[in-house]
Structures are given as structure tokens and as C-alpha cells.
């Protein structure tokens, strides 16, 4: 008699306990806050002042200085040898190339990270 009762009680408990098992709800969190665009404008291009080279040799030196006096300029010239002139030209070209590359890199960053503001410009 007790044996049957125990079996029935255990079966009943098993049914009740199995009813307690449950699948938990999956929680997914998503919080996306867009970062404000930096969108800095490029600095304004400067207007270069014109330069005038004067070639001075032993033959034309007097003529050149006389001309400077005529024009009301101080009779003095800051000189470069032909090789130094070549170096100055090449240095200038390298600085210019660096500026071009730098500007392109900035533009590419802007296009990549701020495509919307780049389109607007």
C-alpha cells in the first residue's frame, strides 16, 4: 500500500518539477550613438608673392647694380650658386609634393569617416 503511494507521490512530484523548467528570454542590447562629425575646413590657400631672379656674372655685375639703383632698390643681392639653385628647386618640389600627399590623405580620411559631410562640400 505504502509502496504504491510512494510511486504515485514521486510521479506527481516529477510532473510538477518538470513544469518548472523554462527557457529564458534572450536579451540583446544595442546602443549606437553616432559620433559628431569633426568636419574641419581646409585652410585657405595662400597667394604667393612673385619672385624675381637676377643672374649676376663678373661681366654684368656693374650693369645689374646700376639697374637696382635706378629702380630705387638697395644695391645688394642675396646669391645662390647654380648647384644651390638646383637644390632649392628640388627642395621646393619635395615640399610641394608633401603638401599634395598630405592634402590627399586628409581628403581620403574625410571621405572614409565623414562621407556625408564630404558629399555636401
Amino acid at each position: 500500500m505504502y509502496h504504491i503511494k510512494n510511486i504515485l507521490i514521486i510521479s506527481l512530484l516529477a510532473i510538477i518539477v518538470s513544469g518548472c523548467s523554462s527557457v529564458k528570454e534572450l536579451q540583446i542590447f544595442k546602443t549606437e550613438v553616432p559620433r559628431a562629425s569633426l568636419n574641419l575646413p581646409h585652410p585657405e590657400a595662400a597667394k604667393m608673392e612673385p619672385l624675381q631672379w637676377v643672374i649676376i656674372t663678373s661681366e654684368n655685375a656693374e650693369e645689374v647694380f646700376a639697374k637696382l639703383k635706378e629702380q630705387g632698390k638697395d644695391p645688394v643681392l642675396f646669391g645662390l650658386s647654380d648647384k644651390d639653385y638646383e637644390f632649392l628647386s628640388k627642395n621646393f618640389a619635395q615640399i610641394r609634393a608633401y603638401m599634395i600627399k598630405q592634402r590627399q590623405v586628409i581628403n581620403k580620411y574625410k571621405e572614409y569617416y565623414e562621407p556625408e559631410t564630404t558629399k555636401e562640400e
Binding site: 500500500m1 503511494k5 504515485l8 510521479s11 506527481l12 510532473i15 510538477i16 518538470s18 513544469g19 518548472c20 523548467s21 523554462s22 527557457v23 529564458k24 528570454e25 534572450l26 540583446i28 581646409h42 585652410p43 585657405e44 590657400a45 595662400a46 597667394k47 604667393m48 612673385p50 619672385l51 624675381q52 631672379w53 637676377v54 643672374i55 656674372t57 661681366e59 654684368n60 650658386s81 647654380d82 648647384k83 639653385y85 638646383e86 628647386s89 628640388k90 621646393f92 618640389a93 619635395q94 615640399i95 610641394r96 609634393a97 603638401m99 599634395i100 600627399k101 592634402r103 590627399q104 590623405v105 581620403k108 571621405e111 572614409y112
Partner: protein, 161 residues
């Protein structure tokens, strides 16, 4: 004796039925939760697909940007080589061009050449800083019209041969 067994059996049956109802209810709730979870997982897979697609597009954009920078580097290097050649050109006698010697012999023409080249080089700096191109610069197609110091940025329609 028998009546107490009957009562116990009936109670057991009622408890069993009650348990069954609760079990089915829980099962239904679990099913609903599982369905909701499935939906979320499907949405998650979709959003992951979008992320993967975005990553692929970013990769392409990086590749294109690098290629364009590489192209600019090559063009600028070629222009620098051309400048170097102008200073160290080999003449018909097999001698390296000597700017100093030329300036002594042909002072005025060389002075004019230097001043023209300097004017062009200064304009190149302005363009490199972002100064807009003039109509004349845009429409230049011949060498005589082009800024030979930096044709790659000054004359988009000029093709050097």
C-alpha cells in the same frame, strides 16, 4: 479501506490533471519565448550580415584609397625625376648640362627661364594648398599651355608624352 484508497486515487488523478494543465501552460509560454528568441536570433543574423557587408565595403574603400595614394606618389616621383633631368640633362656632346656655365654665356635667356619656372612653381604651391584651377589651366592640353612644374595637379587635361 477501499473508500480511502478510492479517495487517494481520485486526489492523485486530480493532482495529475492539475499538474498537466500547469505543465502545458508552461510549455506554451516556453514555446512563445523560444519563438521570440528565434526571431531575435534571425534579426541578429541579419544585422551581422549588414555588418559583414559594411566591413567588405570598408575594405574596398581602403584599398581604393591606397591605390589612389600610390598613383599620386608615382606621379609626383615622376615629376621630381623630370625636374632632376632638367638640371642634369646630357647634351649631344655627352656632357651634363651646366646651369652655371649656361647662365654665364646666355645670362638674359637663362634669367627669363628661371623666372618663368619660379612663377610656375609658386602657382603649383598655391594649387597644392587648395587654390582652385583657372579655366586656362583646366583647358590646357599642349605643353606650351601647361604648367610643366606640376602638370599632374595644374592641368588635368594635359597628357605629357
Amino acid at each position: 479501506m477501499f473508500s480511502s484508497i478510492k479517495i487517494a486515487v481520485v486526489l492523485m488523478m486530480l493532482a495529475g490533471a492539475g499538474g498537466g494543465v500547469v505543465y502545458v501552460k508552461n510549455l506554451k509560454a516556453d514555446l512563445a519565448t523560444s519563438e521570440a528568441n528565434n526571431l531575435k536570433l534571425e534579426q541578429s543574423v541579419e544585422s551581422q550580415k549588414v555588418v559583414i557587408e559594411q566591413q567588405a565595403n570598408d575594405f574596398k574603400a581602403i584599398l581604393v584609397a591606397n591605390q589612389e595614394l600610390e598613383k599620386t606618389n608615382k606621379t609626383l616621383a615622376a615629376e621630381f625625376t623630370a625636374l632632376d633631368k632638367r638640371f642634369n640633362k646630357i647634351n649631344s656632346k655627352g656632357e651634363v648640362r651646366d646651369l652655371g656655365d649656361l647662365a654665364v654665356k646666355r645670362t638674359k635667356p637663362i634669367e627669363r627661364v628661371l623666372n618663368n619656372a619660379t612663377k610656375k612653381a609658386l602657382r603649383c604651391v598655391e594649387i597644392a594648398m587648395g587654390s582652385p584651377l583657372t579655366e586656362k589651366e583646366i583647358n590646357a592640353t599642349k605643353k606650351s599651355e601647361a604648367n610643366t612644374e606640376c602638370p599632374s595637379i595644374a592641368n588635368p587635361n594635359y597628357v605629357p608624352y
